[in-house]
Each structure stands twice: as C-alpha cells, then as structure tokens.
Amino acid sequence: MSSWLELLTDNFGALASGFWVTLRLVGASFALAVVLGTTVAALRIAPSVWLQRLGGVYVETFRNVPLLVLLILSYSGLRRAGVPIDPWTAGIASLGLYTAAYVAEVLRSGVFAVGRGQIEAALSLGFDQAQTLRRIVLPQAFRTVISPLGSITIAMIKNSAIVGAALAIDDILKEARVIGARTFETDAAFFWAAIGYLLLTAAATVAFRQLERRYAIRR
C-alpha cells in the first residue's frame, strides 16, 4: 500500500493535469450540450410539424449512435474528407452533440410538466410564442429537470473517457495508462485514476443535489 501512495506522490502532477483536462472537456461539452439541447427541445415543441420532425430526427439519431462512431466520424472522417479538425474540437463537438440529444429529451419532458394553463395565461396576457417559451416555460422546465440533468452530467463525465481514448487526449485515463506502462504498477495507477473519476462523479452528484434542494419544483 505504501508503494501505491508513493506512486501517487511521484506522479501527482501528471494525474492532476489529466484531471484538469477531463474537467475542461466535460465543461466545454456540457455548455455546448445545454445550448444545443435547448434549441432542439424548442424545435420539438415548435408549432410547425416540420420543425418538430427535425428535432425528432436529431434526437433519435444522436441518441442511438454509439459515441465512438460519432468520434470516428467527426475526427478521422472529416480529416479524410479534407477538413483539418483538431482532436479537441472533434471531441467537444461529438460529446456535446451526443449529450444534447439527451438534454433535449429531458427538457421536453420538463416543458410538458409545465401546466397548459400557464401557457394559455401567458398568451392571453399578450406574450408572444417566443416570449412565453423564454420567460414562462423554460425557466420552470429547467427547474423541474435538475435531477435528470445531474444524471446526464455524470454520464458525460464517464463518456469523456471514451473521447480521451479515441482521440488520444491526455485525460485521466490516458495518464493512468502511461503511468501504468512506465512503472509496471497498473493496479495502483488505475486505482488512483478511478479515485479521480469517482471524485468527479461524486462532486457532480452533490452539486446537483444542492441545486435541486434550492431550486427544484416538486410535482
């Protein structure tokens, strides 16, 4: 066990930098996923049937394709096609697009949880469609879906390891593999990496539980 601790102190810099890379990857993809997911959710509840279908096709496509296939398409695929894309852009785009489908689904269910009467009241007060959505429906929808958004974030933290492995980004997993290969202490290296991932998922769990306690609307 003491050698395990030694491995941690010896390689703390590398593991910490991997931790930071994972965190940045998740943060950037989360921002993209929320923005895009909100847009797609708005499409799915739009007054036009064609816009609804467009949103539906987006969700069904990105939710059912493996993330690894998306990563290969967006990095190697685009590169072969002559688009000079770098791993970070491809990784954030893939993880963001993939997660946006889940965010859209969750938000849509949140929107349906807002009572029809509220929308009718807003419309009769003279709000137009966009204003009703932005001022009345979405703020409430976000507050009802805090807990599922937390699950999505945790799934995202886990999925970031796929991005790292497929595109050779130096995240926690990659650092663990390098340290393990260099020191032949695979068990110890993977153990500390596991602690890193569990810290991230636990932090997300606690953070979203706090948010839920403060803002969630019980229905």
Binding site: S147, L173, T201
Partner: protein, 266 residues
C-alpha cells in the same frame, strides 16, 4: 456535401462483400450485447436483493459495490480488465467457451471485455431493479407478511414479479445503451463492427482501394440507429401495455443513466 454524396464514394457498398463484412462485425456486437445482458440481469438481480437485504452489512457492501462500478467510465473498466486480468483466467475462458460461439468470441480478451460489460451493467441494472421494487406500494409486502408468507416467499411470489415487470421498459432501454457500448471493446482488439470498418477504410486493405471513412462509419451508425429504434419501439409498447394493465405511469428515476425511466404507482 459534394464529397459526401459523390457516387464514387458510395461505390464501396456494392464492391466485394464490403457490406456483408460490416454486417458480420455488427452481428458480433449484438452477440456480445446479448451475452453481457443475460449475465448482467442475473448479477444485477442478486445485487439488488443484496442491497435491499435486512442484513445491514450485506446491504452496505452491495450498495458500495454498485455505486463504485456504476460511477466509473465503462471504457476505463474495459481497459483495466484487458491489462490486468490474469492470463490463467483468460486461458480458463478459452478452454471453457462453448463450441457454438463463433471463433471471434472465444478469444481470451473477449472475457476481459465481457467481464467489464457485466460488472458495469449489472451495477446499473441493480439500481433499476431496486427502484422498481421500491416503487411498489409498501402495503404489498405488509399484506404478504400478514398472510404468513416468509421473506423468501414474499419476494418470490409477491414483490419480484410485480417489481421486475415494471422495470421491463427501463431494462430494454439499458439494452440499447449496452448495444452502443459494445463498440468500446474494439479498443481491446476484438473484431467487431468498428474494427471491421477500420479494416475497410485502412490503406493496406488487401492492397486495394480503401473505402472512404466518412461513408463507411455513417453506414455503421445507421445499423445502430435501426436496431436501437426497433428496441425503443418495443420498450414503448411494453410501457403502454403495462400502463393499460396496471394503471401506472412512467416517471424518470433520479440518479440513473440518461434514458432510464421507471414506473411508479399513481
């Protein structure tokens, strides 16, 4: 766009069995998913029961086990198993693998992949099943106890049949996720659809012309979309049937994977 729809870039689809090669790879994914699902269901049920056990220690250990495995990235577990699994285990698997399995699935490293998939998915399924069992009205268990049924009888005759049937749609959803996750074993060199796609698009493919990568993986993605859409239709129909039969509605469970939903009594 011109590149994407250029007929020359789609010509590989009809050339020399390429499509069949991809489909054969996809079949390996489906087989891995099915094998992993069967074992995950068995171990998941055991874990759920252990977590719900009245024995505090057993319940705590099972809870910690489930929480650790379901919060680790699956690809992390797969890689770790591939690196760290003792050779003797792999050899034992190679010797014990039944003959009806295709050769691809009898290699020792497949055991590492399956073990990782089962460890992860049994933890997720245990959580789904626990939610299903907990969603039952308390009165059900109490009534069964009042009728003089023992703990085992209560579980077997009253609680489990109802709780598990409620979890059927969520279980199918998890099968969809599992089906997508099988692509991850390509990273430990198991010859499934992603590997087959890589071979088709590799520059050393039988000295021939490599197939265009974008198009090949769009086809691979479509295979998953078609299969998983069919599965989610099935899940939806099961959900509706259950709703009609028992008058319960579907609500998402907090703390679970993205698309999971459970049924809660109204």
């Amino acid at each position: 766009m011109g590149y994407l729809f250029d007929p020359d870039n789609w010509e590989w689809l009809v050339r020399s069995n390429n499509l069949r090669f991809l489909l054969e790879g996809f079949l390996v994914n489906v087989q891995i998913a099915l094998i992993a699902m069967v074992f995950s269901l068995i171990f998941g049920l055991a874990l759920a029961l252990a977590r719900l056990s009245r024995n505090k220690l057993l319940s705590f250990v099972a809870g910690a086990w489930v929480d650790v495995w379901r919060n680790l990235p699956l690809i992390f577990v797969i890689l770790y198993m591939a690196i760290a699994l003792p050779t003797s285990w792999r050899e034992a698997y190679e010797n014990a693998a039944p003959d009806f399995l295709p050769d691809v699935l009898r290699a020792g490293r497949v055991f590492a992949g399956l073990l990782a998939l089962v460890l992860y998915n049994s933890a997720v399924l245990a959580e789904i099943m626990r939610a299903g069992i907990n969603s039952l009205d308390r009165g059900q268990g109490e009534a069964a106890a009042a009728l003089g049924l023992s703990y085992r009888q209560r579980m077997r005759i009253v609680i489990l049949p109802q709780g598990l049937r409620r979890m059927l749609p969520a279980t199918v959803s998890q099968l969809i996720t599992l089906n997508k996750d099988t692509t991850l074993v390509s990273i430990i060199a198991i010859q499934e659809v992603v590997r087959h796609g890589r071979i088709l698009t590799g520059f050393n493919f039988f000295g021939g012309v490599p197939a265009p990568l974008l198009q090949v993986f769009i086809v691979v993605g479509l295979m998953f979309v078609v299969t998983n859409l069919a599965l989610s239709r099935l899940s939806r129909r099961l959900e509706i049937r259950e709703q009609k039969r028992t008058g319960t509605t579907v609500e998402p469970v907090s703390g679970l994977e993205d698309q999971l939903a459970t049924v809660r009594a109204r």
